[in-house]
Assembly symmetry: C5
Homo-oligomer: 360 residues x 5
């Protein structure tokens, strides 16, 4: 009778490392996952660009002051590789630990000469992605950016495209602008996610006001779980981007400030919409509940109409089913027909009564 709704699960393993391990311990998360990490890099300046997929860190190009270096690391299971990257690029062990523990809150960190920004990617078109999104860590140092992704995704494709064009703005800016471009791209995807949510809320509204489907409650609850989960990853982002703006790291150029202000503005808009959707979700629950009450009222109206009409009639026919010897009506010639008339009058009266009450 009840159709099962695929409820979203909020709960997953939040603690990846066992209590008591030293800080900075790197523990592989998915032991049964064989996927290797995939590495690719861009080395570019205004004039030229080099793009390459590599299989080991030994293939890394030499660092030069003139060119910007962006490495994209997809898949976080190869602990050794990550440790090597940490050594080469001089990353703090706690930062590496955070990169691997993929349930971090979005945050901005400034480890002398290295800044990192952690975000969640919500890629609605990638069905492989869970409701919790995937963690993306962007690390930047003088002249380089490294992006760490949990799973393959084609979300960075537009940036690749822009990079390949000589005229692109990205080619002429410094590393912090690339950092902004990547963060902005991820934030833009939140709008897609939240729009999907909006469509689902509208569908639910329509469904709630027309039919009273019991599975709607499960949908409403599932949506609330998603909203809570999403909020947990978006709210801290406001603080993180605000910290970038206030940061006095020399890695952030003054001229990119304006762009971070724009990104901050986008996050605020998403949070506003999110809060509205949470309120609407509560409202939907109330509508569902009153839908149950309305249905109950209708059921009881039906029962009451039927009972109120037939119970008195049954009484009347019962009267003339009595076996008293002396019941004059029984012998009247048209007694039977008169009873039918009487009962018809009662029924008509009742129907008029219910009509006036607007029950019919």
């Amino acid at each position: 009778m009840r159709k099962r709704v695929v409820r979203q699960k909020l709960i997953k393993k939040h603690l990846k490392r066992k209590p008591g391990l030293p800080p900075g311990s790197l523990i592989r998360q998915n032991d049964n996952s064989q996927a290797e990490s995939r590495l690719s890099y861009f080395l570019y300046n205004q004039e030229s660009i080099e793009e390459k997929h590599i299989h080991s860190l030994s293939e890394l190009p030499k660092k030069t002051k003139e060119k910007l270096f962006w490495m994209n690391v997809v898949g976080l299971n190869d602990i050794e590789l990550l440790r090597d990257i940490g050594k080469i690029f001089n990353l703090h062990p706690l930062l590496l630990e955070d990169i691997i523990n993929t349930d971090q809150r979005p945050k901005f960190d400034d480890f002398e000469n290295r800044i990192s920004l952690m975000l969640r990617l919500y890629d609605s078109e990638n069905n492989e992605m869970s409701i919790e999104g995937e963690q993306i860590t962007l690390v930047m140092g003088e002249g380089f950016v490294i992006s760490f992704l949990e799973k393959p995704t084609d979300i960075f494709e537009p940036v690749f495209e822009r990079l390949r064009k000589t005229s692109s703005g990205v080619r002429s800016h410094r590393a912090d602008y690339l950092l902004y471009v990547l963060a902005d791209l991820i934030i833009d995807h939140y709008f897609v996610f939240i729009e999907n949510l909006g469509v689902r809320i509208e569908d639910l509204e329509d469904s709630l006001f027309t039919e009273s489907n019991e599975s709607n409650l499960e949908k409403i609850h599932s949506m609330k779980t998603e909203l809570l989960s999403f909020r947990r990853y978006v709210f801290p982002l406001r603080e993180a981007i605000s910290q970038i703006q206030r940061s006095n790291s020399t890695l952030i150029e003054p001229e990119t400030q304006r762009f971070w202000t724009d990104a901050y503005d986008h996050v605020i808009r998403i949070i506003d919409l999110l809060e509205n959707y949470r309120e609407l979700n509560t409202s939907l629950r109330d509508i569902y509940l009153s839908g149950l009450s309305i249905k109950m009222n209708r059921i009881m109206q039906l029962l009451t109409i039927i009972s109120t009409i037939f119970i008195p009639l049954t009484f009347i026919v019962g009267v003339y089913g009595m076996n008293f010897h002396n019941m004059p009506e029984l012998e009247w010639r048209y007694g039977y027909y008169m009873i039918w008339c009487l009962m018809s009058l009662i029924v008509i009266g009742m129907l008029l009564f219910f009509k006036r009450k607007k029950w019919l």
Copy 2:
């Protein structure tokens, strides 16, 4: 049986540009809209005023230090035109992008020598306008103001009138006063909007306390959606105007500060009213729900009264419909009449009982 209520839709496309585009990209919003942008300007000082509708930017007058220039741009589909305006008046690409993406939060921005104020217009008398209002961007520089509107509206008419009068205060003040006058006008319209909401709340109250119309729930929910949407555009305005007050831009004269304080005060009053209306909306929902319960109680009372009276009577007549050979009452001469008396007594007793319970 249920009348459909036109529910307001909260959800629209919040992201106008595709994820991954460079910042400052200008994308036409409504591709199927052929409407051209309409341009008009005022060039005035205390002594003289020139008012003109123009068709291209080449008709723009020369800028002079002695006169203030106010250009009104209606319709945001002509990307080329907007880009040209941006070049002529030296507007930041991110500002232009915001002007076109008409789902911005109200905000104040200070781009060296250019300040911009984004607001939403709620013009209750203009039926073309959606529940979300329309975005109005006011941009000001030394000696000029440009206002960007999504759609034609006659809301600025009173300001036009005042400008045409030589004695008007607007004529004798500088550009920041004109900015204030336009912002104040838009905020004044919020009072009209919120008053309409108030009237609708009162109507709903009356309706809820007199009849139990099922469509009321839909009206309450729709109003909540509107309140949420309106709040999303009014709350940030408080911050925006407060930023103008604290701004140390040389474009804002100290003597207009007092007027911005007044505008700030108006926004606070609107927010107060809005919050009260939100609480009343919740209250209305509770009244609706208890209306359902009250109705249920009444239905059940009716059923109980009918059942409680007739079920015992039916039992009694059933007794004397039994076919036992030895049932002395059946042979009594007035048995039948005595049964009627007994049943009448029971009915009267029941009626008195329900009377005392105040069910009748």
Copy 3:
């Protein structure tokens, strides 16, 4: 069946001037009101006092440094008069506009050398006053105080009395002390108002726990509307008085600071009580709703008792109303009486069952 409750209306015209008018425009509020403004003044110092009702501003006494001047203006419809007062006492046009637009939030303003304090008067004993209270504006300058009232009230009578006494503290202090005395008087009246609310809450509680009157819901909702309206005028007062305390206006003497602290404390107490009353109001609504459920339970209990007792009995008498030729019981000599015994046993059993369930 339902008694109408006089619900308080929250909504009134919040915007008095038409959108688009220049700031500082003075528009008469109630066009159909013929009431003239009434003027009276006190001119006093420690030694002497002069008290006079005047009909035009030409009767004003000359300003002297030695004496304090307090003018009381009742009725705000005479725009010309107010404009003249504005000119004589050098009041800012925006202040005059606020005086006339009587839906202002309580606020403190400091217009160089003139400070103003706007409050709402809740005079519970004056039936003419609406639920929204009346706006009182207190304006103070060097050596004078002017109070603007919407309607006649005898609330200032105790201050008049104190002024007339030579020994009074008011006579020996400066203008800011008079300002405090008037504000304190108005705040004191809030306690009366809130005490009345408290009494009504207690009455409602008693009513809710003893009888289930449907009009109670309307009373609860009406009280919530009042609480919301009252809160809108009391919350900002906290900020206003706090601004007086922090103000560095030379008009506020350091020795009156202590008194303003006291007034601030009173406002905080009122806000505390108000918030408690709001919570209790919500609680009352819950009690009302569960009252409906309790009533429903009782109705259904009655129906169930009656049905559960009589339905089986009716079945039994139906059995012996059957016309089978071969039904031995019918021919038993005491069959009829045995059935009565059986039915009595069933009824007694049922009654015991309901007794144990505590339904009877």
Copy 4:
């Protein structure tokens, strides 16, 4: 049927003085109370202690620099006495007014050289005390402490005991330590109060989960009223003690700061518990409401079971009570018995059906 619960009344006279009286007016609160104020004092230093009950202020000892003086004033009806104390100890008129108006928020005040701390005493063991507690004002100056109590209480007894011991820490500290000891004692009593509340919540929980007593709603509401009232007097205490800590009064020794921090910590813990209890109270209300629903479900189940079993049976016996001339079954030899078999089968089927539904 319903047992009355003694509901706590939140509302009492909050305004003791009539509006319009000058600030600092001392008005006797309980006109019908004849109780005199009772005075007693301690005069002590490390070496010696003098303890005395006195009847008039003329019996006060001379102030000396070497000894600390603590006077305990019980009963606040003797206005003249309080005024005299105010003169002798140089107390501010507004402070005296607050001492007498016993509905003050807890607060700390610093009147040059006199500091005062107002608290509420909740003495659970003293039945005379109302739910609102009693106001205790502690006033301290150089070398003396005065405590003002509304009613006699033996709460200070442990401090008396400690004072009488030569070895006591109180004897060796200065006046501010005595102030702390008294405040700490009063705060400790809050724990007793809140523990009592906790026990009552547990009892209510047990009651709600086992039986559905209608008076529970009244108990829940009464407890909420108490929690609100208690909160009103405990929340401001946090601020008051924090002000003592930040105070730069020379009367507070740096070495007692640590103790105030401890007291602050206690207040925070009480507030935490209080907030938890408020949430639990709300939770109890929900449990009560669902208790009503569960009961309703049970009632309706019973009605439905009885109806569903007997209504079809009654129909069947009705069929064979019809008087058609041609009804073959009636003449069957075992027709009557077969009907009984049929009806038994139906009943058994129904019972199995309800069994499977877990209704039985």
Copy 5:
């Protein structure tokens, strides 16, 4: 019929000492507990480590500058012992009092040269532990750390292991790092606790959406009580760790700051999850309540279907049970069969009606 759920009790004795005792009084908490305190210590530096269980403080090693000393005190009933530890390690009496009163909020204190951190331990695997957790106090001075535990636990085992390894990072850091390691370990256990909560929420969800078990309400309420209790001990931890970060105590090395930031981050994540779980808990309650309504609807549907079908039929057979002399139908040859046909049609009609209503 109702299975009892073991509800968690929120309430325990919050005040361990009697009101009126001097601050710093040490009172044994559990008088009937004979358990002695158990002492053990580690004395270590990079090169060597000494580990010992001792029975009295006389066995303590001499303090040396080269080695770090960590003493673990399990069991807080031996007041004398604690007083001696206080003397030897120069601990403030108020700190000792807090160690013994095991209902403290988590807090950080800086008593000149001694810093203390109080936390709650939630050890899910230790069944002896109550829902409230156990208090752990970490005290640190120059060169030593003392940890005070209420009950034996093997939670510190991983740290013991790491200490015993020469290569361990703990061995090469100073005392504040050991403090961090212990705090981090305790915080890590919160993740385990909160994960268990998450699993229970999912189980409850599944249960609520499939069956309507009345004991679920008790489970939901019990979980809320636990969440409230847990929150009371986790929220203040955020502040405590933030105070460590801002502390300017010389005991905290600058290089451990980064680790505290990491711990702070963990606490924030736990708080986020906790708040989400609280919202989900509320949501579960709503689902439970609507489960009751859904069940009620089903019950009433069944009753209504049965009644609506059989009441009219019973009326019809009643009609032909009447004893009128002149009832032509009774004499029709196939009257009886026609009635059966009529009744079958009615039943089929009704069934179709309910089918269309989706009740069947």
